[in-house]
């Protein structure tokens, strides 16, 4: 019998006409790992919250939810709290206690468990998670990844049978996200805990999933095993979900007419095996890549882009718009420097992506460039002038958390502030609202917007001040793949049509590879490598896109995205 069963569920938020969930029916068996995919606002969070009575949203609902054979509403609260665990998106806000140990036992205290039992649980779970070093630490001192791990452990302490997760890794960097998924996989495989997870990190979640549920506009679009769903999407020619599939499958799809469901690759490993059976040649050259010499000399596209890159580098050296000279920055006197004699030149009209691991000083660098932090030594130069204590107005800074941008009660008031500050004409605002397609949001409170909408509103506010340079901290955090893609296109358009220089720091390599004209990598407070994105990422073995990892050393022309492969590859014959 199914552990969790949803039958004909409809749900409408108060004062809304359109239902948030419409006619949703599915069942989850005990021990299954189910991934919930779909755009932001498709009802993923609503569905997950309806499955957890304590935090169910208010609204009109019909249909039924059964847990373990009885209606969910009839389950006693204590059992509900114990059996159904929930992990939220934001790592900070779900922590209630001051110390890690206190956080772990919080749920058990709520259930009235005695200390002896709690000690035992703590010992078990801490061991399973390897949390010993964190146990006595204060929760606010932990990194985002550690916090989310503590949150997962705190839920697991209660020995849940089913775990609901609402985009748990959206705020984490790729390495922490991988750790988190590894832990989820272990919990699922070793402890048999049922998992239902809404997630945008497709490369990580698809290989783990037993089943995938795809939601769109509150309706179930596809339910099934990952390969079945992908195969069905391909045969139906449904392009709307293409951004939600793992890159390996998309790559496969572009070169296969008749998809054999069993052979659809999901992981890098599977895609490499599939590629090994193919003979791929470069379209323009028409020569076989199986020729071993070819990999050694740069192919034509690379050569052309490298040439372009060199010309730009010359221009940048001569007239940088923004420059950091030997910048050194510490947050506290005795801490090691976050930025260590860092020098960087940014040319006019560039799209520069700064990538790098957690804690390498990316965010600090972008704040320093914006003139918001004053370095202890070294200088920042903007348009040939030294930046003093006040941040230059012609530099726009889009923070990691766009909510921090709003002091005003409405979006409109925020626009007004920007207009007044720089004396821009309201006609420009109209233009931007149309261009970004956010005219309908002006009367709303900023906190009521989705992450993607919020980012666009902040971007409009910044653009109204007519900046020369736009600095963006983690532009893709919390965005769904489709919104991310549109945001990337938008940045490109602004850059190409308005000549706006764009600098962003990101963990998202796919995004950097698609949007940037130059990439720089930070390590220990310094820029350790930089280059044209194509050459840069094809040169990296790990720090590259999924398709980059698939094609590296596979005896095919190295590409970074499925789209690029489509442009450049000619599949001569199927090896099988």
């Amino acid at each position: 019998m199914a552990l969790l069963e949803v039958k004909d569920l409809w749900f409408t938020y108060p004062e809304e006409k359109r239902p948030a969930l419409a006619d949703v029916s599915f069942a989850v068996d005990a021990g299954e790992f189910v991934a919930l995919c779909g755009p932001s606002g498709s009802g993923k969070s609503t569905l997950l919250r309806l499955l957890k009575p304590e935090i169910s949203p208010y609204g009109r609902r019909s249909g039924a939810i059964f847990y373990d054979g009885s209606p969910l509403a009839d389950i006693p609260p204590a059992r509900c709290a114990r059996d159904i665990g929930f992990v939220f998106q934001d790592p900070d806000n779900q922590i209630a206690m001051d110390r890690v140990l206190g956080e772990l036992v919080f749920g058990l205290e709520n259930l009235g468990m005695d200390t002896g039992m709690m000690r035992r649980r703590v010992a078990e779970i801490v061991h399973f998670f390897g949390l010993e070093p964190l146990l006595d630490r204060k929760t606010h001192e932990l990194s985002g990844g550690q916090k989310q791990m503590v949150n997962l452990a705190a839920v697991l302490m209660m020995e849940p049978r089913i775990l609901l997760l609402d985009e748990p890794t959206a705020q984490l960097d790729p390495v922490s996200a991988k750790d988190f998924f590894n832990m989820l996989r272990r919990m699922n495989e070793e402890l048999g805990i049922t998992v239902l997870i809404a997630e945008h990190r497709l490369e990580d979640v698809w290989p783990l999933a037993d089943r995938v549920i795809m939601l769109e506009d509150g309706r179930l679009r596809h339910v099934g095993k990952p390969r079945e769903v992908i195969g069905k999407l391909f045969t139906e020619g449904d392009e709307s979900f293409i951004d939600y599939l793992p890159r390996a499958s998309v790559l496969y799809h572009q070169f296969t007419v008749e998809a054999e469901r069993e052979r659809i690759p999901i992981t890098v490993k599977e895609a490499k095996r599939w590629l090994a059976g193919l003979t791929v040649v470069e379209k323009a050259e028409g020569r076989s890549i199986k020729d071993p010499r070819v990999n050694e000399c740069p192919d034509s596209e690379n050569a052309a882009s490298v040439g372009r890159f060199k010309a730009e580098a010359r221009r940048r050296r001569e007239a940088p718009v923004l420059e950091a000279r030997a910048v050194r920055f510490h947050y506290r006197k005795n801490d090691p420097p976050v930025l260590n004699h860092l020098s960087l030149k940014i040319g006019v009209g560039e799209r520069l992506a700064i990538v790098g691991g957690n804690g390498t000083g990316k965010s600090t660098l972008i704040k320093t460039l914006a003139g918001l932090l004053t370095p202890q030594s070294g200088t920042i130069w903007f348009k040939g002038k030294k930046v003093k204590s006040e941040p230059p107005e012609a530099i726009g800074y889009l923070p990691q958390n766009p909510k921090l941008f709003f002091m005003e009660e409405t979006v409109e008031a925020a626009y007004r502030h920007a207009l007044e500050r720089c004396g821009t004409s309201p006609a420009l605002l109209e233009d931007y609202l149309n261009f970004f397609d956010i005219g309908h949001l002006t009367a709303r409170h900023p906190y009521d917007l989705s992450d993607g909408e919020l980012q666009k509103v902040v971007l409009v506010c910044l653009l109204l001040e007519r900046p020369d340079v736009l600095l963006i901290d983690e532009p893709t955090k919390g965005l769904d793949p489709a919104v991310k893609k549109r945001f990337g296109k938008l940045l490109k358009t602004l850059n190409q049509e308005e000549g706006l220089t764009v600098v962003f720091v990101t963990h998202d390599i796919e995004f950097a590879a698609q949007v940037a004209t130059r990439c720089a990598m930070m390590f220990r407070g310094e820029i350790t490598a930089e280059g044209d994105p194509h050459a840069f990422f094809t040169g990296n073995a790990f720090y590259t896109t999924a398709v980059g990892r698939i094609t590296r050393g596979a005896g095919v022309p190295e590409v970074l995205t499925p789209e690029e492969a489509k442009k450049r590859w000619l599949v001569a014959k199927d090896g099988s």
């Binding site: 304590e54 929930f86 036992v105 709520n110 009235g112 209660m158 941040p391 921090l404």
Partner: protein, 291 residues
């Protein structure tokens, strides 16, 4: 800090510091107070190599110095005139009084600094948060403070980029921005607190009677230490009742130097305050001999 006083159940160090404060307040004798202060400073040095003390040194000297100087100038009750200052007599009794006030103030401050290092807020809550609800509210508040600090810093940085500064510009604009900043901090915090509330509810908060995790065990060593401290404390109080901890100023000024039974009670009070140092020392000695 691990080891030393931290190996005990929180009740032991708490009793020590509470009793320590009482003895400082009842002892009115420069020699006793000086001895106590010296031992407490020694303990502070052992606790963190003098880091806290260095930070507070200025404040302690300033406050004690104030009483040291001001008491002889304003207190004119006594018979032994030392000299005249601005035409007013400065009395020997008043000088002793000033020395004692300064010493006891300094001793109390150092004791409190040490207390803060040993009795963390968690231990305090554990001891006095027998009402779980109260303890929970306090813990939530403790967690909230660094969150507020972090958010305020973030908001300030971002708003500076928008030209809204609280550190530069005309005072009126700064005030206006400051108020807006605080308002925004509250809105943002409430918004985020909703998520915390959800997370707490999801983990069964409010489903029934809460229990409290007890991270400390009361061991036989704790009982022994508590009994010992209580006995020494009782003896010292007895000495106070006998007047041996007090320098009599009026009607007849007692000699400052100790005599007779007072030596015994200095020893008793000394033992009380040396107790934590003895524990730390024993710990260090154990490590040395273990090697």
């Amino acid at each position: 800090m691990n080891g030393g006083m931290n190996t005990f159940h929180p009740a032991v160090p708490f009793f020590f510091y509470a009793g320590g404060a009482v003895l400082i307040m009842v002892a009115r004798h420069p020699v006793f107070l000086a001895a106590i202060l010296l031992v407490l400073i020694g303990h502070s040095l052992v606790l963190d190599c003098g880091r806290t003390l260095r930070r507070w040194w200025g404040a302690i000297v300033l406050m004690s110095g104030f009483f040291l100087v001001i008491t002889p100038l304003v207190n004119r009750r006594g018979t032994h005139i030392l000299f005249y200052f601005n035409g007013r007599p400065v009395l020997e009794e008043a000088v002793y009084q000033g020395v004692m006030t300064a010493l006891s103030l300094a001793a109390l401050l150092v004791l409190f600094l040490n207390y803060n290092q040993v009795i963390t807020p968690e231990k305090f809550l554990f001891l006095f948060g027998k009402l779980p609800q109260w303890a929970l509210v306090a813990t939530l508040a403790v967690r909230f403070v660094p969150e507020l600090q972090r958010r305020l810093g973030d908001i300030q940085t971002v708003q500076r980029a928008r030209g809204l500064s609280v550190t530069a510009g005309p005072l009126q604009a700064r005030l206006k921005n400051g108020l807006a900043l605080v308002q925004m901090l509250l809105t943002l915090s409430l918004e985020e607190a909703l998520q915390t509330a959800d997370s707490m509810k999801a983990r069964g908060y409010g489903t029934g009677k809460r229990s409290q995790y007890n991270p400390y065990r009361f061991r036989p060593a704790d009982r022994l230490a508590l009994l010992f401290l209580a006995a020494v404390f009782g003896l010292a109080l007895f000495g106070w009742r006998l007047g041996d901890l007090v320098l009599t100023l009026r009607p007849v000024l007692e000699p400052v130097f100790l005599h007779g039974r007072e030596w015994f009670y200095l020893f008793v009070v000394g033992i009380y305050y040396v107790f934590p140092l003895f524990i730390e020392g024993r710990e260090a000695w154990r490590w040395r001999s273990w090697k």
